[in-house]
Amino acid sequence: MSADANAALSRRGFLAISAATLGGVMLAPGIRLIEIAGARAPDQAVSRQVRWGLLIDTNKCAPGCDDCVKACATENGIKDTGHPRTDAQWIRKVELKDMRSGRTHSAPVMCQHCEHPPCVEVCPTGASFKRADGIVLVDRHICIGCRYCMMACPYKARSIVFEDVTEQNPDVPRGKGCAEGCTLCVHRIDRDRQPACVEACTKAGHNAMVFGDLNDPHSEIAQHVAKYASTQIRADYKLNPGVRYQGL
């Protein structure tokens, strides 16, 4: 009896080991590794192997179109308080004109999710931080509302909330006295969805925005970046933003 049980156990053990080895071999070429990191389990921490980024094609971005801005406001519960000068701005449309050629084009500008973010460097409490996957965020639990980050950011991507906020989206807590900016819709990314602006741009058929993992050579964004010329705004600062632009 005991010998039989032992034999059965060892056979099962052998099968388990061989299955594990096979799995290891299949993982080893690294083809699927990034995808596994992207579709991580809810209890798994974000990985340094991912670098989320945005590619914005200004040739496809129509002047006057603000579908992305509207989608952002709806998603993140940003409402007009009647004070446009001090309202929080997570994403804005910037109209550009080359004075020599007269060419006009426009592009959405939001937090550029820098690799070396100045807002993180100046934050006295550690509230402004960069997540392992490259998303720059404000931890409102420790933000004291000093606004150093607003001054440090060369992209004017941070805002402060001046008025009480009610009726928040349960996924996007916001409140008075804290600095905030584009989160790249981190609550969506963590559930394998695209940021609201990208989704709206694609849904409207403009296809001017591509979101994805810059570190994954198989992702659409990485292939675009490898194939076509793209620039970062004020690349001379060497902050290496995760948001890139085509046609600027």
């Binding site: 809810p42 997540r131 906020v165 009726e167 559930r191």
Partner: protein, 132 residues
């Protein structure tokens, strides 16, 4: 002699103060000025931890979860404030705040200010905005 003359009224006053101090709790509580918390759960069932643990440690659990979610992107449903609200929001108001709200009634009783809902949604679900 002199000491006694001044001492007698002082002693009376001291006695009166002592009596008042002894009676004060009785006066305060007899009037029932502090209402007991209303624990009205619209969705009865088992919570993520035992009641005794939740009563004492819910703030620690929430704080631990908040750091995990914020910095590491871990969005498990257990110990998440959103899930608390999802289950404990009142059937009438849809909120955990308000006089009979699950969170507020108890915090009022314990005289502890809740800061959570100056930023977090106190209602379970809203029209508009994305849902997971």
């Amino acid at each position: 002699m002199k000491r006694n003359a001044i001492g007698a009224p002082a002693r009376h006053i001291a006695r009166a103060i002592c009596l008042l101090a002894l009676l004060l709790p009785a006066v305060a509580f007899a009037a029932g000025r502090v209402p007991m918390p209303v624990v009205d759960i619209a969705k009865p069932g088992k919570c993520v931890e035992d009641t005794a643990i939740m009563r004492r440690e819910h703030s620690d659990l929430l704080k631990h979860q908040r750091d995990k979610t914020m910095h590491e992107g871990i969005r498990t449903r257990e110990h998440s404030l959103k899930e608390c609200v999802e289950c404990h929001a009142s059937a009438n108001t849809g909120s955990v705040l308000g006089e009979k709200g699950f969170c507020q009634s108890c915090h009022d009783y314990a005289s502890v200010r809740i800061d959570c809902f100056s930023c977090h949604a106190s209602k379970a679900k809203l029209a508009g905005g994305a849902k997971p």
